[in-house]
Amino acid sequence: MRTTTPSEDFIRGIWKENPVLIQMLGLCPALAVTNTVKNALAMSAATFFVLCCSSMLISSVKRFIPKEVRISSYILVIATFVTLADMILQAYAPVQHKELGAFIALIVVNCMILGRQEAFSSRNTVYRSLLDAVGTGIGFTIALIMMGGFREILGIGTFFDIPLFGPDFEPWVVMVLPAGGFLTLGFIILAMGVYEERKKLREAV
C-alpha cells in the first residue's frame, strides 16, 4: 500500500506537486491576497496552521469517522481551525487581519486543505500526515511569496515595505490589481514549464 518514504511525503508538496503551481489548488487566496509579501506571508501562515492542525487531528481520529460522514467531518474540523486562526489573527495581528479580510474565512473552502485530508491524512499515520502537511504548507508558502514578491516589487516598488527604487519609479499599478495576479501566476507557471521542458530535453540527449 505505502509506496512512499517519509522524506518523499515531505518533499513532494514543496516542489514536484506544489499545490499552487503544479496542482493548481488553492488559487483563490493565491490570486487574491498576494499583492504584497506581507499579505502573502500572513495568508500562508494561517493556511499552514489550519493544514497542519487538520491533518494531525484527522489522521489521529480517522478510525472513528465512518466513511459516510467523512467529508462533513473534515469540513467541520477545517472550519473550526479556520475560525481559531481568524480569531488569533484578529487579536494579535489586526492590521494583517484587516488587509486579508474575508479571505481568512475562505480558507475553509481551500481545496488544497480538504484535498490533503481526503487523499492523505485519512489513510496515513499522524507522523506521515504531519510531514505531508508541512511539505504542502511550505510549497503553498513558497508559491505565495513568489507571487507576492513579484507583484509588490513591480506594483508598488517595494519588497516587504522596503523601497527598492528611487522616487522616479512609476509603479505598475496593474500588478497589485486582480489582473496582475493572473499575469504573475501565468508567467511563473510558464517559466516552470520552460524549465521542465529544457530539463527533459537535456535528459533525453
Binding site: 459516510e68 473550526t80 489513510r123
Partner: protein, 238 residues
C-alpha cells in the same frame, strides 16, 4: 507543454493509491448504523463548538480593546486640538448621555463631542458608511456644528482598489484638504478646476468615484446630524 500536467496527475495516483471508498485500509465495510453517523457528527460538532468558545473567551477582550483604541485615536485625529471627548447616543431622534436601561450601547448611533483644555466644545465627530467603488467605505469625520466647518476626516474601513481608490487614505495631499477647515457642504471637483470657492475638494485623478464617496459621506452625515445637534447637546453631569 501538455506533458507536464500529465506527469503530475500520474504522480498523484502513485502517491495516493487507494481511491475513496475502495482503499484496503478503509476500516468499516459493513453497514454503519445511522445512530453512529449522527453521533460522530454530534460529538465532533460539540467539541468544535467548545474549542471555538474557549478561544473566543480569550481573544474577544483583546479584539474589543484594539477596536476601542483605534476608534479613540481616530476621534482625536479628526478633532484636532481636542483634549478629551465624550460619547453621546442617538436615542429617539435626540442625543442622550446614556442608552436606555437594558439596551446595548453598540446598537445606537454614536456622536463624539470633543472639548479643549478650557472645557470649550471644539467639535463633533461622527462616523458613517456609504457604498464606494468596491464595498462600503466607512469614514469618521469631525466638524463644528455651529459654523459647519469640517475639522478632519479619517477612513476607518475601505476595500477600494489598491493603487487607485485607496488613495482616499494613502494620498496625503487629498487627505490634508479635509483638515484645511473647508466649509461644508463640500464639492468634489476635478483637480485644478477650482474657482477658489469654500468647500472645494480636488478629487483624485483615477479615483473619482472613491473621492466623491468620501465627500458624499461627509455632506450626508452633516445633513443628518445637524438637526439632531441643533436640538441641543445634553449638559455634562459631573
Amino acid at each position: 507543454m501538455n506533458e507536464r500536467p500529465e506527469t503530475g496527475a500520474i504522480d498523484v495516483q502513485v502517491v495516493d493509491p487507494g481511491q475513496p471508498g475502495s482503499g484496503d485500509e478503509a476500516p468499516l465495510e459493513e453497514q454503519v448504523s445511522t445512530l453512529r453517523l449522527v453521533a460522530t457528527l454530534a460529538v465532533a460538532g460539540a467539541l468544535a463548538g467548545l474549542l471555538i468558545v474557549l478561544f473566543n473567551l480569550h481573544t474577544k477582550p483583546i479584539i474589543d480593546k484594539y477596536k476601542a483604541e483605534q476608534l479613540k485615536l481616530a476621534i482625536y485625529e479628526v478633532l484636532p486640538g481636542v483634549s478629551r471627548y465624550r460619547t453621546l447616543y442617538l436615542v429617539d431622534g435626540g442625543l442622550a448621555v446614556e442608552v436606555p436601561a437594558g439596551a446595548k450601547a453598540s446598537d445606537f448611533r454614536q456622536a463624539y463631542v470633543g472639548y479643549d483644555e478650557a472645557g470649550q466644545m471644539k467639535g463633533v465627530a461622527v462616523s458613517r458608511g456609504e457604498s464606494g467603488f468596491q464595498d462600503v467605505v466607512q469614514v469618521i469625520f469631525g466638524f463644528e456644528p455651529d459654523s459647519g466647518v469640517l475639522l478632519g476626516m479619517k477612513v476607518l474601513e475601505s476595500k477600494e482598489t489598491p493603487g487607485l481608490g485607496d488613495k482616499i487614505f494613502k494620498d496625503l495631499a487629498f487627505v490634508d484638504q479635509f483638515f484645511a477647515r473647508p466649509q461644508t457642504p463640500l464639492a468634489a471637483i476635478k483637480a485644478g478646476s477650482g474657482k477658489g470657492l469654500p468647500g472645494e475638494i480636488d478629487a483624485i485623478t483615477g479615483a473619482t468615484i472613491s473621492s466623491k464617496v468620501v465627500v458624499s459621506i461627509i455632506n450626508n452625515g452633516i445633513a443628518e446630524w445637524l438637526p439632531v445637534l441643533e436640538q441641543g447637546i445634553p449638559e455634562e453631569t459631573q
